[in-house]
């Protein structure tokens, strides 16, 4: 699904992460961990093409990420950012429906299929009670759920999430991780989420992408992962 070949990720003068060769599969949830500032967000943004690679390539479904058109890319990869837009008078339904934009016509008209997919996402995330509210009236936690619903609606084979559980309480965090894992399996998507809560992530029992604190390399640690090993690698 996603292949990294001799990839170096970072900003112009400072490389942050290097990946010799890595392949991420469909149907899996990967949790990306690393110290603060180690480049987690940058890595995710590089996959979606918002950040240029310092060297090497990233292939999605066998194709180089840079050769995707904007339209193709939006149908292949979706991204849940850590910040939420401050827009007035935007209903939750409309916000989530924007996830269908890559597929709708010039006027943005929603077909029956589009509406189905939107409802599905709402059901999956159990946020039906938020329909009809304005996004500006939601709590931080509700906003995160709504953002994820939008990403689901975008129906992409890859979903990237940047610290999606920061504002959720513990039981909801854990619930969300489990949910995303299930979605990855059931819909055969490749989902990567970044997190800095190691204990919680371990409970999810999935694979990890750890940024080695000393070598700055990205390592894949398959499930079940061992806590002390991860701690050593990423946080010492």
């Amino acid at each position: 699904m996603i292949e990294f070949k001799k990839t170096v990720i970072g900003h112009k003068k400072s490389p942050l992460i290097s990946i010799d060769f890595l392949e991420l599969k469909a149907g899996e949830l990967y949790i990306l961990i690393g110290k603060n500032g180690s480049g987690k967000s940058t890595l995710l943004k590089s996959i979606i093409g918002f950040n240029s690679l310092l060297s090497g390539e990233v292939l999605v479904e066998g194709k180089n990420i840079t050769s995707f058109s904007k339209s193709e890319l939006s149908k292949t990869v979706s991204f849940v950012r850590s910040t939420f837009p401050q827009t007035d008078y935007l209903k939750v339904d409309d916000f989530i429906a924007l996830g269908r934009s890559p597929y709708t016509n010039a006027l943005g008209r929603l077909s029956l299929l589009d509406k189905d997919i939107i409802n599905n996402s709402i059901q999956t995330l159990k946020i039906a009670h938020l329909k009809g509210k304005f996004t500006s009236d939601l709590s931080d936690g509700e906003r995160q759920l709504v953002s994820i619903a939008k990403a689901l609606t975008q129906d992409t084979s890859i979903i990237l999430l940047d610290e999606p559980t920061a504002f959720l309480d513990y039981s909801n965090k854990s619930h969300l991780h489990q949910l995303l894992k299930r979605i990855a399996h059931e819909t055969n998507k490749c989902i990567i989420l970044s997190s800095h809560d190691l204990d919680l992530s371990l409970d999810t029992n999935c694979s990890f992408l750890a940024i080695n604190n000393s070598t700055k390399e990205l390592h894949l640690v398959e499930a079940p992962a061992e806590k002390s090993a991860l701690l050593n690698m990423a946080f010492s």
Binding site: F50, P85, D88, Y89, P102
Partner: protein, 332 residues
């Protein structure tokens, strides 16, 4: 995006209100006109009948320009506010009006006959609007906060204002008078014969905006999000600036600068319709913007026997307090 029944009804009401106000406007001058005069002026025009002349040559152009100025500036304001994610954006505050004014000032005060002709002034206004549109877009690349961009727009306005003052000091009193009059704004300076081209450009701008409904909807959640949804941001941004410059330049060229409409009306529309669906917002802005200017001009005509108020002053009188209300509401 969704469209509720309530929104649809409001939209229809606004759509009906506009032609009703047009008719009221036609009949609200100091000279009383019969309906006969009106229909004759259109279908059996007798160019010796004073009443018919007044309706056909004075009132109809004035009424149409009110709609075009109100609708055009409001739609330009809406586009600016969506592009910059800033409800306080507008052609006036972002300096696009100033760009037009500056170029028109040059045209009038250089004394070169071609430039101070109608055609010269219109071209200058359009070029000025577009140049400043590009300029503010350029600044937007470096500026994060909403307020900063507005400040830059206001500074652009002050800067051009200063240049205009210098030009004024150097020009003859005739030219000065001419420019001052232009700056007061007027809906009465267009000929019936010019209306076809003005209306065509106006409709062109509306059609252009309608074709942008989906990208505009994605822009409501920000540039990055819009890009993630597949919107070709750079192209869309350019098209928005072109359409905005078209409306602003067109109105500024034929009516002079008219303040606050572009800023106030889209905000009013969002407050009434409570949506970010640009299908609703575009039509509502045109209807309500046109209605707003018509109402202002109707009041101006009613007051004409005691006091003459230029349109620009009127829109500022009404618009400025409204904008203060919006700012207070947002801060609350």
């Amino acid at each position: 995006m969704s469209l509720t029944k309530k929104q649809l009804y409001f939209l229809i009401i606004a759509g009906i209100l506009l032609p009703v106000l047009c008719v009221v406007h036609l009949f609200s001058g100091q000279i009383s006109i019969e309906f006969q005069d009106f229909s004759n002026s259109l279908f059996h025009y007798n160019n010796q009948d004073t009443n018919q002349i007044i309706v056909r040559e004075l009132r109809i152009p004035r009424m149409l320009m009110a709609v075009i100025a109100g609708g055009g500036l409001s739609l330009a304001g809406l586009l600016m506010q969506t592009l910059f994610n800033n409800p306080l954006a507008g052609p006036f505050v972002l300096g696009i009006n100033s760009g037009s004014s500056l170029f028109v000032a040059f045209s009038i005060m250089t004394g070169i006959p071609f430039l101070s002709s109608d055609f010269g002034i219109i071209s200058s206004a359009l070029i000025g609007a577009f140049s400043f549109g590009v300029l503010i877009m350029f600044f937007s690349l470096f500026v994060r906060s909403h307020v900063s961009l507005l400040l830059i727009g206001l500074m652009l306005g002050s800067f051009t204002g200063a240049i205009v003052f210098i030009l004024q000091a150097a020009s003859s009193s005739e030219e000065l008078k001419s420019f001052t009059m232009w700056a007061m704004g007027s809906l009465q300076n267009t000929e019936l014969s010019q209306l076809p081209i003005i209306s065509s450009l106006f409709i062109l701008g509306i059609i252009g905006s309608i074709l942008l409904i989906k990208p505009l909807n994605t822009l409501t959640i920000g540039e990055e999000e819009a890009k993630l949804l597949g919107t070709n941001y750079k192209t869309i941004r350019l098209v928005i600036i072109v359409i905005t410059a078209l409306f602003t330049g067109l109105v500024t060229a034929f009516c002079g600068p008219i303040a606050f409409v572009g800023l106030a009306v889209p905000n009013l529309v969002r407050i009434i319709f409570k949506t970010q669906n640009h299908f609703v917002l575009i039509f509502a802005s045109v209807f309500i913007g046109g209605a707003f200017i018509l109402i202002c001009d109707i009041l101006i005509q009613i007051l004409e026997s005691s006091i003459h108020i230029p349109i620009n002053a009127f829109t500022s009188l009404v618009g400025a307090p409204f904008v203060v209300l919006i700012v207070l509401k947002r801060l609350a």
